[in-house]
């Protein structure tokens, strides 16, 4: 039985929560529900009409190009996650264990700076570096190599994804590893574990939660990104975000685009849920 003081407190808390609850409903839950409803609408004469037909779902999910695009997006986002995690790890390791506290503070500050500028602007600046007569090919030309095509390739897409995700992944990994109890690493060394082996035996198990969350973030950002595959990857093989754009453009097929979007959201839900479950999995007290 809550006392009147409790009820007053609850009312107070609720008042402050109301705006965010309101906001979430209007701008998140509402649109998602509308999108789900829209996936059952029909398009007649380039006009969307309300209906409840499964034709969009059956058409979309039976098309080869949808599944090609789906698996390609899963694959390239997976490769992006793997690359970001591997490239970030040595940097985060050095910042967490080798750098002084002051250096670490500055490094994290510097890693936040890229977010000051628009991701689109940062993506365009890669043109200067990656194009046929860009900085890299110019330098390779000096030693008699190239030119290599880097724009409009998977490589270009990945460079874009790294631009988006790497600073965040480094920050998340650094913060996770900096919080490890150094005594545990020394204890492992004391018990005959070489410095390199402690990475697998101690550091990764201890920072598992943070590392998985960093990977989830990286996958979500890459999976839903439109800019990198469109501008740097040249949308040779369209990823799902590009497919959504194309679908809406061709014949005003908003309902079919909604199908793609719902498939994407479902995939991300599944990945995030599995990842979090894995991250917080605890061993049983007894086997």
């Amino acid at each position: 039985m809550p006392s009147s003081a409790d009820r007053k407190l609850n009312l107070y808390a609720l008042t402050w929560r109301l705006p965010i609850i309101f906001w979430q409903f209007i701008f998140f839950v509402g649109p998602v529900l509308f999108m789900v409803a829209m996936s059952f609408f029909l398009v007649k004469n380039y006009r969307m009409t309300e209906a409840f037909e499964f034709v969009n779902w059956s058409k979309m999910l039976s098309r080869g190009y949808f599944w090609d695009s789906y698996w390609y997006t899963v694959f390239i986002a997976g490769v992006s996650t793997l690359c970001a995690m591997c490239i970030a790890f040595p940097a985060a390791f050095a910042l967490a264990f080798r750098a002084s506290e002051n250096t670490r503070r500055w490094a994290i500050f510097l890693l936040i700076i890229p977010f000051f500028t628009s991701y689109l602007v940062r993506t365009f600046s890669w043109f200067v570096i990656l194009s046929e007569n860009g900085v890299i090919n110019g330098m390779l030309n000096y030693i008699g190599l190239g030119p290599y095509t880097m724009l409009n390739t998977n490589f270009g897409t990945l460079v874009g994804y790294m631009t988006l995700t790497l600073p965040l992944v480094v920050i998340l990994q650094t913060v996770t590893m900096a919080n490890i109890d150094k005594n545990l690493i020394e204890a492992a060394r004391n018990l005959g574990c070489s410095a390199f082996r402690t990475i697998w035996q101690v550091i990764i198990p201890l920072s598992k939660t943070g590392l998985i969350i960093a990977a989830i973030f990286c996958f979500i950002l890459s999976f839903g990104d439109f800019v990198a595959p469109f501008y740097l990857g040249g949308s040779q093989e369209p990823t799902l975000p590009i497919l959504i754009l194309d679908t809406t453009k061709s014949g005003q097929q908003w309902p079919r685009a909604a199908v793609v979007a719902i498939m994407m959201m479902g995939t991300l839900f599944a990945i995030a849920f599995t990842g979090i479950a894995l991250a917080y999995r605890k061993k049983k007290g007894a086997k």
Partner: protein
């Protein structure tokens, strides 16, 4: 006489401009229980960490079995350490924690398991073998940490204040466990602590450190009865310290004039000069009390300030007319004969042989 297992050869450790320890020059004998004791910041943990290879000496050398250890990485040493924080791996079960060191050494799975279970049984925690570390109590974790180090069957076990996080009654139990283990296994224990009771209860020899240097090495009794200098005398709790001027010298005694009176002390091997300063100590438990003025040449009249009970032992805190503090330690049943009240005037006295002259330091 057992041979030295470890030799510290004029070892010094600097952290930047800070000298953590210097002139460490001592031996650790095979099979002994050595305690390194001192106030926090005295360098005792640094000394232990150098032995484990977690710090490298800036000057000098540490030798283990006559082998110079300065260039040997920590994981190539056989010097397991029991940590103050225990440092058990939270992502492993109790048994997996104990197996860790064996796994690193490439011992195969079946043997690993067998040896781990043997040690868990020996430490009386076999039933918790497959439990998560976080589900164990402080005392159980302590035993897992000991098993994890001892399963390596080392020649020497290092312990860094391992009992400091335990409840008082568990500390006494674990002290017994540790001394029994050390006797049974016959291996060398190096035990770092700030607790005099732990060090004196368990160790064969004690090293007292202060400000990065060794102040005294000796048996607990030597250190208690014959502190080498004022630092040790003050650190080893229940001592009365008096300072004054040497008034006269005879063959083996000296008469020292202090603000609290004139006292006769045995000179032992300490060189004293007439007219120079000298300090001496009398252990609190060697001081007698009486209501009337006693016989003898070493006595002081004091006022009782307060009493402190620990078990059946009582410590009296007294002050003489000059405000100098005296401490007397005695059995409670002896004290009850006197019926003392706070502020009571009583006489203290002690035998000349009970006094111990300090080296100047």
């Amino acid at each position: 006489m057992s041979k030295p297992l470890v030799v510290f050869d004029k070892v010094q450790k600097n952290f930047g401009n800070f000298v953590a320890v210097k002139e460490l020059d001592f031996e650790i004998r095979e099979g002994e229980f050595l305690a390194i004791m001192g106030p926090s910041g005295c360098g005792k943990t640094t000394t232990l960490r150098m032995l484990a290879g977690l710090e490298t000496p800036s000057v000098g050398e540490i030798r283990l079995n006559d082998r110079g250890m300065n260039d040997v990485a920590p994981h190539e040493r056989d010097t397991p350490l029991v940590w103050q924080s225990l440092a058990l791996f939270p992502f492993l079960t109790a048994r997996e924690n104990v197996e860790f060191g064996l796994k690193m050494r490439g011992v195969d799975k079946a043997e690993r398991r067998e040896r781990a279970l043997k040690w868990l049984a020996k430490m009386d925690i076999l039933e918790f073998a497959d439990r998560d570390i976080s589900t164990l109590s402080g005392g159980q974790k302590q035993r897992v940490a000991l098993a994890r180090s001892l399963v390596m069957e080392p020649q020497i076990l290092l312990l860094d204040e391992p009992l400091s996080a335990l409840d008082a009654h568990l500390v006494i139990r674990m002290q017994a466990v540790l001394t029994d283990l050390q006797r049974e296994l016959g291996i060398t224990f190096v035990y770092v602590t700030h607790s005099q009771s732990e060090a004196f209860a368990m160790a064969d020899r004690v090293i007292i450190m202060g400000k990065g240097e060794i102040a005294q090495i000796g048996s607990p009794k030597d250190i208690y009865r014959e502190p080498a200098n004022q630092f040790v005398a003050e650190f080893v709790g229940r001592n009365n310290i008096l300072s004054g001027n040497v008034a006269s010298l005879s063959d083996d005694t000296a008469r020292i004039t202090t603000p609290s009176g004139d006292f006769t002390v045995p000179t032992n091997e300490v060189r004293l000069t007439e007219g120079h300063n000298a300090s001496f100590v009398i252990s609190a438990d060697l001081v007698h009390i009486s209501m009337g003025e006693p016989e003898g040449s070493n006595k002081a009249q004091c006022k009782l300030i307060s009493e402190e009970f620990v078990g059946s032992m009582v410590t009296l805190f007294l002050e003489d007319a000059q405000g100098h503090e005296f401490k007397v330690q005695m059995q409670e049943r002896e004290l009850s004969k006197f019926d003392l009240k706070s502020g009571a005037e009583i006489w203290l006295s002690w035998d000349t042989a009970s006094a111990h002259v300090l080296n100047e330091s």
